[in-house]
């Protein structure tokens, strides 16, 4: 059992690492300008400086995939960042004052936000502020806040009854100090796991939004939009859909495996059982 857990962690880590490396590399080098329209290269077959061929605009698929990785990470980081920045403090407050009115209020608001799923929020935000990457990311981020708040609250509840926190409270330490010194470090592992899983969900959400036309604006390369644009050529040039589809699936798989692997690795309870 241990061996397979690690395998998941390794494979997940490798896939995520590949996405990150590709995204970083795309800042310094891509074979071609990914948005340059070149009629002479329209639907060019792979080979000769175009490793994966070109799309109907003559844009290099490989370069687009590379820069698309950047978009993917950007979406994930901002969405997860918003969710964590709002959700973690709220969850910790709720967890540290489990019977107070504030805790009750936070969790009720949390339930309410939970009733607005990411896609619905993104469509609403898009309708008001205009569709685009940032709107989509904020919507996905806000919709993910409850997930972080719940995890942070549950983990905080556990930490609050441990001996060292009880000792710190007996010693008269104030709550903010306890939160920073004792709680946060101990719930960190659960939050990292949640971040990894939320990242995967954000990638899927961005793809779905791009498909509906509420995601990344053209011509910024995005895997979701590449997939959407390749639909009309699914019959004649299926590779145009294959590569972005594969990239999405591998990235999501990577983040999920990483999350699961980290959970098994970091959660002491699970480790004991196995």
């Amino acid at each position: 059992m241990r061996g397979r857990t690690n395998a998941g962690l390794v494979v997940g880590g490798a896939l995520v690492g590949l996405v990150v490396l590709t995204a970083v590399a795309s800042f310094f080098w891509t074979p071609h300008d990914p948005t340059l329209v070149d009629a002479a290269q329209k639907l060019r077959e792979p080979g000769g400086g175009y490793p994966l061929g070109a799309d109907k605009f003559g844009r290099d698929t490989f370069s687009q995939l590379m820069v698309g990785a950047r978009t993917t990470l950007y979406v994930g980081i901002v969405a997860v960042g918003i969710a964590a920045a709002l959700g973690v403090p709220l969850g910790m407050i709720a967890g540290m004052t489990p019977h107070g009115w504030l805790s009750e209020l936070i969790m009720r608001v949390n339930d309410l936000v939970f009733a607005f799923p990411a896609l619905l929020l993104a469509v609403m935000f898009g309708a008001v502020y205009g569709a685009g990457t940032l709107t989509a990311m904020i919507a996905i981020g806000v919709a993910t806040v409850p997930a972080f708040a719940r995890v942070a609250r549950a983990a905080t509840l556990q930490v609050m009854v441990t001996d060292y926190v009880l000792a710190a409270r007996a010693a008269g330490r104030r709550r903010p100090a306890i939160a920073v010194r004792h709680v946060l470090p101990n719930i960190g592992s659960m939050l990292i796991v949640q971040a990894s899983v939320s990242f995967a969900i954000a990638i899927l959400a961005e793809a779905a939004l791009s498909f509906l036309g509420f995601g990344t604006r053209p011509p910024t390369p995005s895997w979701g939009r590449m997939l959407q644009e390749s639909q009309e050529l699914l019959f004649s040039t299926p590779r145009l859909a294959l590569w972005p589809g594969l990239a999405i699936a591998l990235a999501v798989l990577g983040f999920n495996l990483l999350g699961d692997g980290l959970r098994d690795y970091l959660d002491p309870k699970l480790r004991r059982i196995r």
Binding site: V37, F57, A131, R217, P218, L233, F235
Partner: protein, 496 residues
């Protein structure tokens, strides 16, 4: 030709014919005539009242098919009789006397008489809410001479009047049939509204008491698709019989098998315009606009964005109009000249486009090509129609936009400086006014000059002429090859 109004349409989006799949027994048993057809369209009407709601989808479905006018446009773009048997024009070209057909009744059973002509045309002035109604401002009065004769008097001679009568403005309504235009259209046409499944389809049933040649089909279903691929798939799998307007031209090779499908490529009135805001910097400067025209490689744009289907034009006139001249040579692709015109300056501009396939595809090419000469365009797709209409069309808050102006003979929109182009050249307005009042030859000469002026001023750039691409199952006949009127004419549609 006065101002031809505004409505902006989705472009060829709207033209399809779909069979409702009710022919399940037909093909196998070799029945001579299928009873129904399903045609795939892109934009569903919001309601059925084209007197108060903008948009191409309503007249496309209803005009000629459900509502008829005194005259209509045939496939060659000629005005031919419909509910009027004939008409006479007075010597001063200000009085039109229409002789109406006998035995015409509305689908409600009420007879069609000169009273309905007076009612319908007066109603344009009193009740219509569309901007295009100004095309009939030239009408002074409409009178009934007897039951089958109606007389229209104009304020001044107008070449655009009869043409406008062939559009939805000339549709004949029953005096007792306008209580619920949004849901219950009452006309004299070969079809009547059968049922409407919102979000899905509209069924038109043959009108059993039609005055003319009875339509060959018992019903036609107009099926609406928001996704081009979904519409293609529906034809491939037999869900529909016709794609009224192909929105994914690269996919046409799916329909290459001549034993199964027929691809019809005709022409439209739809000029895909790269509009430039003449009202504010940087495109209030003629040189900047000219630079844009030189910076765009139109051939490459058409090849990549729309699979090379359609034609190139250099001004606001399609080749089917009598005053067409080839103006594609006015601004040849010349990035060096463009840079020179910009004087080495660079610009950041907003390109606010409708989220329609042709616009999104074209915008990416335009952006790439403008970047070569130092203009950075940020593409912002807006939901069509509402958001685009609000932000670009009404408020004029844009630098560049792309839209297919599908209305027939719509060069006049440039004469209105409050129009979203913000183009203001009094000379142009004078040419149009004189063309509308002049003789046929004067009209042609004036309009040729007007088109040249538009091009020279670089009032906008014309990316390409939208093609009329129809794909039908083999055996479907009577499809209109060219989409040059507001309606998708189902009159002759049949299936062998």
């Amino acid at each position: 030709m006065r101002r031809i109004g505004i409505w902006i349409a989705v472009g060829g989006l709207l033209l399809a014919t779909a069979a409702c799949g009710g022919d399940s027994g037909g093909s196998a048993s070799g029945t001579p005539k299928a009873q129904s057809l399903a045609v795939g369209f892109v934009a569903e009407p919001a309601n059925l009242d084209f007197t108060s709601t903008e948009g191409a989808a309503i007249p496309q479905a209803l005009l000629v098919n459900v509502y008829e006018g005194l005259v209509k446009l045939d496939q060659a773009g000629e005005i031919v009789p419909l509910l009027a048997e004939k008409w006479e024009v007075s010597g001063d070209r200000k009085t039109y006397t229409f002789t109406l057909r006998d035995n015409v009744t509305f689908s409600s059973g009420a007879p069609f008489t000169a009273d309905d002509v007076v009612f319908s045309l007066d109603r344009v002035k009193s009740d219509w809410k569309l901007k295009i109604k100004s095309q009939l401002d030239v009408v002074d009065k409409v009178e009934k001479k007897d039951d089958s004769t109606a007389v229209v008097t104009l304020k001044q001679p107008s070449n655009g009047f009869l043409y406008a009568m062939a559009t939805r403005l000339g549709a004949m309504f029953s005096r007792t049939g306008v209580s619920d235009l949004a849901n219950k259209p009452v006309g004299t046409g070969p079809y009547t509204l059968g049922s409407w499944r919102r979000g899905d389809s509209i069924q038109l049933d043959a009108n059993p008491s039609y005055w003319g040649t009875k339509p060959p089909l018992s019903s036609i279903t107009l099926k609406y698709f928001k996704d081009a691929t979904a519409m293609n798939n529906a034809l491939l799998t037999g869900g529909i019989d016709v794609i009224s307007s192909v929105q994914a031209p690269e996919s046409l090779q799916q329909f290459a098998d001549p034993n199964r499908f027929e691809v019809i490529e005709g022409t439209t009135n739809g000029e895909v315009v790269l509009s430039m805001n003449n009202d504010r910097p940087p495109f209030n400067d003629k040189k900047a606009r000219q630079a844009v025209r030189h910076a765009i490689d139109h051939k490459a744009l058409l090849d990549t964005a729309w699979a090379g289907r359609g034609g190139l034009i250099g001004s606001m006139v399609p080749p089917t109009d009598p005053w067409y001249e080839d103006r594609t040579g006015d601004y040849p692709y010349d990035p060096a000249r463009a840079k020179q015109l910009l004087g080495g300056k660079t610009y950041d501009v907003k390109m606010r486009i409708p989220n329609l396939p042709y616009a999104v595809a074209s915008a990416q090419v335009v952006k790439s090509q403008l970047a070569q000469v130092g203009i950075t365009a940020e593409i912002e797709p807006l939901e069509f129609p509402a958001r685009w209409l609000d932000q670009v069309f009404t408020k004029g808050d844009y630098d560049l936009s792309i839209i297919n102006h599908v209305e027939p003979r719509d060069m006049g929109i440039f004469a209105d400086k409050s129009y979203y182009f913000g183009y203001d050249n009094p000379e142009f307005g004078k040419l149009l006014a004189s063309a509308d009042q002049g003789t046929e030859q004067e009209q042609t000469d004036d309009l040729k000059q007007a088109a040249k002026l538009l091009s020279d001023d670089a009032a906008a750039d014309w990316l390409f002429l939208f093609p009329n691409l129809i794909v039908a199952k083999k055996g479907v006949t009577g499809l209109p090859e060219n989409a040059i009127s507001e309606s998708f004419d189902f009159t002759a549609l049949a299936k062998q």
